[in-house]
Every structure is written in structure tokens, then in C-alpha cells.
């Protein structure tokens, strides 16, 4: 997918006393088949940015190009064309556990397939496959989505997005509310899906996840892009001024360095740190 932001501004409730300038002059290209992390403090504009990609919001000025589609003020797009391109995008919302509505888990997961591909003969098979991927077994198929725990609801929502096999995944805090094991499992799953050719845009507050999984990261603050680059470069610098946490591994390395150890800047995970420490004796 080709995604390009061209001088994009977005203001909520323009010309009213509730006006909020959420994005200011965003210029950005997201075309590589990457895992791209978007990070920044609460209220910095991350969700707004992702919603512009899916044409859930229209810029106040500037334009967003998504493949051949232009999302800009005054540009009208047919409902059919929007649907046609939305089915290429799997969008997991920040509060996705609140979007479930069918009476069984299975039906809810099938829902996206049915609405995007009404001619598909076997939405149930796709749904079951997706549920297996997220680690929910048959015992969940006929349960009501409203009786599940928060984390289980999140998994159902993720399955609902994966079921229609989009080419781009936009994930707004997919791991919020999951336990440590669940978080790792889900992130590994996304990684596997990415390796099968799906691009991923990931919004998260967890810098360890960014370091471990993302190829590229974008820091956004006060509605503006502050930094774009590889996580291992950016996260070694001071990111705390953006209310971000330095990943654990770099905290350890900083401490070691402060105590006189000499550690190469290529060390980004625990195995290589151990090797480095052994090497120096």
C-alpha cells in the first residue's frame, strides 16, 4: 500500500469553542512493507493520524493519498470505492473490545468477511482460522462476546480483523489490556502475519515492543512529527522528553556505561548484551 501525507492538518470541532488542533502539517510516506510504530504521549494525535488513513476522518487541509485514493477536503469518493479500499485495511481500534455486537463470538468474527465479501461461500472457515490464530479454541465459538473478559474481547476483535485477510493492518494499542504472555503471543502473531506480506502500522506506548518488533518508528508530539527512523537508533537517545520510556535493555546498558563498561551501540537485545559482557570479561 502506498500511503502519503501531504501537509495534512486536522482540527476537531473547527470553528467552535471546542476546537482542538490534533495534527499540524504532517508530511509522511509509509510505503515500505514494514512494521511501523507510531508513538507519542497521550493526546499527541496518534489515533487521529491512523483514522485519516482509513478515511474515517477527512483532513481539515492537505491531502492523504492511499493507493489511488485521495482523502482531502472537498474530494468526494463514492461509498463503494471507500468500501473497496477499506477491505484492504484491517483496523483495530483502541477500544476495539467495545465494537462487538453479534450474539456469538463466531458470528462476530465472520461479520467483516460477510460485509466486505458478500459472495464468499465460507466465511465461517475464515473466522475459525482467525480465532485459532489468536488462540481462542472451539469452546469460545458459541459464547456471547459480552461475557468475555477484556483481554478475550480484544482477541475476538483482533480475529474479526484478521478474518478478512487485509493487506495492511492498522493496530491502535493492540496489546493494551493483555497479560504479559498474551502480549507476546499477539505480537509474535502480528510478526508472523507481517512476514506473510502484510504491512503493519502499530500505535503503542510500549517501547520494548517497538524495539523488538518494529522496523521503523515515528515519534509524534503535539500533533507534529518529531522523529522518524530505526527504533534502535532513536531509542538509544533521550526519548523521555516525549514521555516515552527508554526500553529496559537500554536502561541496563546506560547503567553499565555509567559504571565504566564499554558497550558497543550494536547491542539491542539480551543475548548480544551477554555476549558483549563475556567478550570484555
Amino acid at each position: 500500500m502506498q500511503i502519503k501525507f501531504n501537509h495534512v492538518f486536522f482540527t476537531y470541532n473547527a470553528d467552535s469553542p471546542f476546537k482542538v488542533e490534533a495534527l499540524k502539517d504532517i508530511n509522511l510516506e509509509l510505503s515500505e512493507n514494514n512494521i511501523t510504530a507510531i508513538v507519542g504521549r497521550t493526546g499527541s494525535g496518534k489515533s487521529t493520524l491512523t483514522e485519516l488513513i482509513n478515511k474515517l476522518l477527512t483532513p481539515t487541509s492537505g491531502e492523504v493519498h492511499i493507493n489511488n485514493l485521495v482523502n482531502a477536503p472537498k474530494v468526494k469518493i463514492k461509498g463503494k470505492a471507500i468500501k473497496e479500499f477499506r477491505k484492504e485495511i484491517g483496523f483495530l481500534f483502541q477500544f476495539s473490545e467495545n465494537q462487538l455486537f453479534e450474539d456469538t463470538v463466531l458470528k462476530d468474527v465472520m461479520f467483516g468477511v460477510q460485509s466486505f465479501y458478500p459472495k464468499n461461500k465460507n466465511p465461517e472457515a475464515l473466522a475459525k482460522q482467525a480465532l485459532t490464530l489468536v488462540g481462542l479454541d472451539e469452546s469460545f465459538y458459541n459464547r456471547s462476546p459480552f461475557d468475555l473478559s477484556g483481554g478475550e474481547k480484544k482477541k475476538v476483535a483482533i480475529a474479526g480483523v484478521l478474518a478478512y485477510q487485509p493487506k495492511l493492518l492498522i493496530l491502535d494499542e493492540p496489546t493494551a489490556g493483555l497479560d504479559v504472555k498474551g502480549k507476546k503471543e499477539i505480537m509474535d502473531l502480528f510478526k508472523k502475519i507481517h512476514e506473510s506480506g502484510v504491512a503493519i502500522i502499530l500505535v503503542t506506548h510500549d517501547m520494548d515492543v517497538v524495539l523488538d518488533y518494529a522496523d521503523k518508528m515515528i515519534i509524534i508530539d503535539d500533533g507534529q512529527i518529531q522523529k522518524i527512523g530505526a527504533p534502535k537508533d532513536i531509542l538509544q537517545e533521550d526519548v523521555e522528553k516525549y514521555n516515552l520510556e527508554t526500553p529496559n535493555i537500554y536502561q541496563v546498558i546506560h547503567l553499565l556505561k555509567a559504571n565504566g563498561k564499554n558497550i558497543s551501540s550494536n547491542v539491542n537485545d539480551i543475548p548480544s548484551l551477554i555476549k558483549e559482557l563475556k567478550h570484555h570479561g
Binding site: 476537531y12 470541532n13 473547527a14 467552535s16 469553542p17 471546542f18 483514522e51 482509513n54 474515517l56 461509498g79 463503494k80 471507500i82 468500501k83 477499506r86 477491505k87 485495511i89 483496523f91 481500534f93 477500544f95 476495539s96 467495545n98 465494537q99 462487538l100 455486537f101 461479520f111 467483516g112 460485509s115 466486505f116 459480552f146 474479526g160 480483523v161 478478512y164
Partner: protein
């Protein structure tokens, strides 16, 4: 969904915003009375309604309620307006005499249209008044205002404070529910629901996909709220003091006197069955 809605407080700091909610509630009632009085003839009715409209429009300008938002409110009422027209055409108001067209037994009266126009104008004025009140008064102030007027009812064991609390919670949750609706709307759009186009079946599915999550989340919100109230030891029977006291100021007195004079003028016209066409002016305008 960025539009203002009826009942939403708009935080400007105009002179109307600063008035006491009790004054605004009383004032609103008196203005509504002025709007709904009836007069001697159609001409008089429209002239006086015009004066009402002009006064309400002025108040809207002062309190920064935009005409655009008022009309936006009424956009969904066009069916009602159409229905009104049809009913008035087939059941003309009592005393209709001016026939515009005739075919067989059926007579089309001018009064049918005048009557519809009158009702639409009054509707518009009513909505305008309600919008001025709610846009310039926080839900909290409104509840304080209403509970002040309900206080005497406590003598007859009317649960004034509970009602006030319930109303204030309900008002407080309107914007939250709208936000929630907006959020679910976006989530379901991204799952392929087209809320605007599509056939009846799709539309129906869309509404279900919107309403059920909304229901579930409002129920869980009210659950949480009930727990939170209980955890803080809320006792509905207790005698409550208020964090913010209402203060009646000089401006409020002036405003209420102006509104009383205004309403008295209209009541006088009605009582006199005043008609511009027949009578000489009783006093200079």
C-alpha cells in the same frame, strides 16, 4: 458529528451565560408563553410572531448560538412539517374563509398554509429558546436551577433531590454517549458497514451494529457509576448542600424585569384581542 446538538453547553462567556440559571429558566418559560399566545387576526399574529422571532434572534446573537445550528436541529423535522401541511390542507383550521382553489367538493383554503406557517414559526422559536438556555447554562447549573424550584415540593414528600441527581447524571452523560456513538460508528465503518448507502437490510444491520454496543457500554457505564457512588457512601435520603451556591445578581433582576415587561405586552395584546387591521394604535410604538 462535529455539529452542536440541542442541549449541549457551549462554553462562551457572554452576558447571558453569566445570568443565574433560575432567572434563565423563568425567562424561558415566559418567552415560551409569549410565543404561544394567540391574537386577533392572522396579520397581527404574524407581526407579533415576527417581533418574537426578532427578539429571540437577538438573544441568540448575544449568547452566540448560531442560526445554522438551530436549522441543523430542525433538518430531521421536515417530514413532520410535510405531514403538518397535508393535515392542514385536508382538515382546514376552524373558521377558514379564503378559498384559493376549488375542485368539486374540495376547497383549498389560504388558512391551511397560514396555519402551517404559524406552527413552523412557533416550533422554530421554541427550539431557539431551548437552545439559548442549554447552550448558555451548564447542565450542573440547570439542575441546581430546577431543583431550586422543586424544593417546595419536598413538603409533599416529592423526592426533589433524587430527581435532581438523576437529571444531572442523565445530562452529564449525553456528550459521553455521543462520543461513544461516534467511536462505535467509526469502528463499524472500518468493518465494512456503510451507514449512509446500501439497501434496507444493510441499513438495518448497521443500526443493530451501532445500537447493541452502545447499549452494552452504557449499561456497563451505569454499573460503574452506581458502584462509584456507593463506594463513596452516597445516600439519596441525606440532606445535601451544594458545592456551588447560586447568586442572584443585579443583572438577573434587570433581565427578569425586562422579560416580565415583554411578556405582559404580549398578554395585553391577547387580552385586548388586538388587531392591527381594525383598531387604531392604542399607543405609539
Amino acid at each position: 458529528m462535529d455539529k452542536y446538538i440541542l442541549g449541549k453547553y457551549v462554553p462562551y462567556n457572554t452576558i447571558i451565560h453569566r445570568l443565574d440559571p433560575r432567572m434563565k429558566i423563568l425567562g424561558m418559560i415566559m418567552l415560551v408563553v409569549s410565543v404561544f399566545l394567540s391574537y386577533g387576526s392572522w396579520t397581527t399574529m404574524f407581526v407579533l410572531s415576527g417581533i418574537n422571532a426578532a427578539s429571540i434572534f437577538t438573544l441568540m446573537l448575544i449568547s452566540k448560538v448560531r442560526l445554522r445550528d438551530l436549522l441543523y436541529q430542525l433538518r430531521s423535522l421536515w417530514i413532520l412539517i410535510l405531514l403538518l401541511m397535508i393535515i392542514n390542507i385536508f382538515v382546514p383550521p376552524v373558521g377558514s374563509i379564503h378559498v384559493i382553489a376549488e375542485s368539486g367538493n374540495f376547497k383549498l383554503y389560504a388558512e391551511s398554509f397560514l396555519q402551517s406557517g404559524k406552527i413552523i414559526l412557533r416550533l422554530l422559536e421554541m427550539f431557539g429558546i431551548a437552545m439559548i438556555l442549554t447552550a448558555s447554562t451548564t447542565p450542573q447549573e440547570l439542575t441546581y436551577g430546577f431543583s431550586f424550584f422543586m424544593r417546595p415540593l419536598k413538603k409533599i414528600k416529592f423526592p426533589a433531590e433524587e430527581v435532581a441527581m438523576t437529571v444531572s447524571i442523565a445530562l452529564r452523560f449525553i456528550p459521553t454517549l455521543l462520543e461513544e456513538t461516534n467511536r462505535i460508528y467509526k469502528a463499524q465503518s472500518s468493518r465494512g458497514i456503510d451507514f449512509k448507502k446500501g439497501n434496507i437490510k444493510e441499513k438495518f444491520k448497521g443500526i443493530i451494529a451501532l445500537i447493541i454496543p452502545l447499549f452494552v457500554s452504557s449499561l456497563s457505564m451505569s454499573d460503574d457509576l452506581a458502584f462509584a457512588l456507593e463506594a463513596r457512601g452516597y445516600n439519596p435520603k441525606a440532606n445535601r448542600t451544594q458545592y456551588r451556591q447560586l447568586h442572584w445578581k443585579v443583572n438577573d433582576t434587570i433581565a427578569i424585569i425586562l422579560v416580565i415587561l415583554y411578556m405582559s405586552m404580549f398578554i395585553t395584546f391577547t387580552a385586548m384581542n388586538f388587531d392591527f387591521m381594525k383598531q387604531s394604535f392604542p399607543f405609539i410604538w
